[in-house]
């Protein structure tokens, strides 16, 4: 028996083939089959921008120091003249002491008394120290001899109740000259009174 001849594709079949063979467009929402987290990320981004904008801008710096020494004992006498500046912060002012002894009021040479008397007191009863005068005196002492130019250390002692802020301001005052051109005594050691 003769085989039946397969008829050609009908117009309806050709139309169906045309329709089915067209490549399908990819929906952006279905791309890669991922979860659409963009709305969530939009919210996160907005929240983070708000948090960053409301953070207080605080700039800090560290001041270097060494462990405190008791009494400031020396191992051997120095082989050249040294200043050995010490600063005692008390409620009446700031007393400076060098190798030659206590610096007299007005920073005019050795002598007893408070070198830089306090300008007055604030409403809380705390001393208002004359930092400008302290800086001037520190520079004067450093310029007193060529050998002192290399010295950068100062020892700080204070009354037990002295505020940390006052100690920091005292360190600032003797760190450098008024115009910042000359380094005075940036290396601070804390002393313990005997």
């Amino acid at each position: 028996m003769a085989e039946a001849i397969d008829p050609p594709l009908s117009p309806a079949q050709r139309s169906k083939i045309r329709r089915l063979s067209q490549p399908r467009e990819i929906d952006p929402a279905d791309a890669g089959g991922e979860l659409n987290v963009i709305p969530f990320l939009d919210i996160i981004t907005n929240v983070l921008m708000f948090v960053l904008a409301t953070l207080p801008a605080v700039f800090t710096v560290t001041i270097e120091s060494n462990p405190p020494s008791i009494g400031g004992a020396r191992t051997r006498p120095p082989d050249k003249p040294t200043l050995n500046l010490s600063m005692l912060i008390v409620n009446d002012g700031i007393s400076l002491k060098a190798s030659g002894g206590n610096i007299a009021p007005g920073c005019e040479g050795p002598g007893p008394g408070i070198t830089i008397p306090a300008k007055g007191r604030d409403p809380a009863g705390r001393a208002q120290h004359d930092w400008a005068q302290l800086r001037t005196c520190a520079k004067k002492l450093k310029d007193a001899a060529p050998e002192f130019k290399e010295e950068t250390q100062v020892q700080i002692l204070a009354e037990p109740g002295t505020d940390y802020q006052t100690v920091i301001w005292a360190m600032d005052a003797v760190r450098q000259s008024d115009d910042g051109s000359e380094v005075l005594f940036p290396d601070v050691n804390f002393g313990v009174a005997k």
Partner: protein, 200 residues
């Protein structure tokens, strides 16, 4: 009389499928991406921002301030150094690192200005400068730090960052620094607010 056209002969299913496969192959093309997918970028941005926030909150360079802790101001400018164990001295307590077990409660300011922390925390009575409890807490940090420093080939001097309240009495500050020195910490970084108003 009926005039209906004779039905159009259809090709077999085999022939139809072969033609369909051939048409699909002919029309096949790479999918064209005509939209911007920013999801990956946003993922990355979110991770970076979270990391940034995390590092900002844990950084010693900007400790959170409040009534209990206000940093002193200084005219100095520069970058803060954050190497070493952090010792925080607030108005009410001393803290080493973030370990709450090391907390030392502080008395009122008048008592602090007289003899520092309470005598029960001291080695030899109220006039001693060494704070035993602080020293014990520091020992653990010192041992760990010493191993790290030796591995790195650094010197044996451990470092400490001092974050102290502006009203801290000198006596208390000295006790903390002295205890650090006795615990073989050889260098201190005292954190202050930079360039924010100097002495008047």
């Amino acid at each position: 009389m009926s005039t209906s056209a004779p039905p159009t002969p259809k090709a077999s299913v085999v022939k139809f499928k072969a033609a369909l496969r051939k048409a699909v192959r002919r029309n096949a093309r790479e999918p064209e991406i005509d939209f911007l997918n920013i999801t990956a970028m946003m993922d990355m941005m979110t991770i970076i921002l979270v990391f940034l926030l995390k590092s900002m909150t844990t950084s010693n360079a900007a400790p959170s301030q409040g009534q209990d802790l206000t940093l002193p101001k200084s005219v100095m400018v520069g970058q803060p150094k954050e190497d070493g164990v952090v010792v925080t001295i607030s108005k009410t307590q001393i803290l080493v690192g973030n370990d709450a077990n090391t907390t030392i409660r502080l008395p009122g300011r008048e008592a602090l200005a007289q003899s520092g922390v309470e005598a029960i925390y001291k080695r030899g009575g109220p006039n001693d400068l060494y704070i035993t409890r602080l020293g014990e807490a520091l020992r653990h940090f010192r041992e760990t730090d010493l191993k790290i420093r030796r591995q790195k080939g650094l010197d044996d001097k451990s470092e400490a960052v001092i974050i102290a309240d502006a009203t801290t009495p000198y006596r208390l500050l000295l006790e903390v620094l002295y205890t650090l020195g006795q615990s073989e910490f050889g260098k201190f970084h005292m954190l202050v607010l930079s360039g924010s108003g100097g002495p008047t």
